[in-house]
Symmetry: C2
Subunit: 188 residues, 2 copies
């Protein structure tokens, strides 16, 4: 696979990643992606045979991005409590996107579940990456036995905040809840 083709493939995936988040998977057409990536519709099928293959590419890209981000946090933040606080900062930093489009992971999983799409089990690996990382942090805080449940609880809390913030378009709610989550973490 040549360099030029690979660059084109990356552009398609990047464009699809954004559009799937902002418009949803089903509602995003090949034309939308082609326009955003600056290529012709027909050129898709050299890189991806079906729309599902693009979805696969987007999920894999996100998984890599998330893994890289968490690895970077592990390198640069030594205190597990501070790492958890950094996780919560995703909410406040991505405030505007969440307000308009919700959580990129939760909304994609929701959509794929309703489509009874086979790739739901690939998409929920995005949750799984965060869950495992969160679990490791709780374990380092001496919460070995509850670590897994605490991780899922925190994941769910953040999801709920994203859904309500999105439905009401209410960033003030997001900020209030982010503070509460931080307080909860500090109390552990």
């Amino acid at each position: 696979m040549g360099t030029k083709g690979e660059q084109c493939r990356q552009r398609i995936i990047a464009a699809a990643d954004t559009l799937f988040y902002e418009q949803g998977f089903n509602h995003t057409s090949f034309s939308d992606i082609a326009d955003a990536a600056g290529i012709a519709r027909g050129n898709f099928y050299y890189h991806f045979k079906t729309k599902d293959e693009i979805l696969q590419g987007v999920i894999e890209k996100r998984l890599e991005d998330f893994r890289a981000m968490l690895a970077y946090w592990d390198e640069t933040i030594s205190d597990p409590r501070k790492r958890l606080r950094r996780y919560i900062q995703i909410l406040t930093r991505q405030q505007q996107d969440i307000e308009h489009y919700g959580c990129p992971i939760g909304t994609l999983c929701n959509e794929l579940a309703k489509l009874q799409h086979a790739q739901l089990n690939d998409a929920n690996q995005m949750f799984e990456i965060f869950r495992q990382w969160l679990e490791a942090q709780f374990r380092q805080l001496g919460r070995g036995r509850q670590a897994r449940h605490l991780a899922l609880h925190l994941l769910a809390w953040a999801q709920g905040v994203a859904t309500i913030t999105n439905a009401y378009s209410d960033p003030a709610f997001l900020r209030r809840e982010a503070k509460q989550i931080t307080a909860w973490l500090d109390g552990l």
Copy 2:
């Protein structure tokens, strides 16, 4: 409007309600609804001119159903704490649907937000009905100043549980969290 036509209209709305929940709004076609309602495709347009009008009908039906349910709870349950516990029981009683399709309110709002659909502001009234009712219960528990925030917090918590349960298809997580929410309510 005659009785026969009104019955047909109700059948269409009931079928659309279920299908929008199970398959999503966009992914549900007129043919799907017609088949489920047992009518011909062409007969739709006597009752609804566009798909958005069906959506409107579904949202209004849900709003009425929710209002009726909450009014019934107000009549039959006198203790506000028990009313809140009844609210949480939605999660455990609807466990299987949530596992497969998520929350009917949250997932519809998510979808409409991504479609930049004008009726998001009608759909989030479904949240609003519950929020106001929850707020009234917290107020009766002497939580006047925080009642609104507590109501939104509880809404978000339930949403998060629904999203994670759906993504992982994990009813055990739902039951664990439902217990935690109940414990939190009892501690207030």
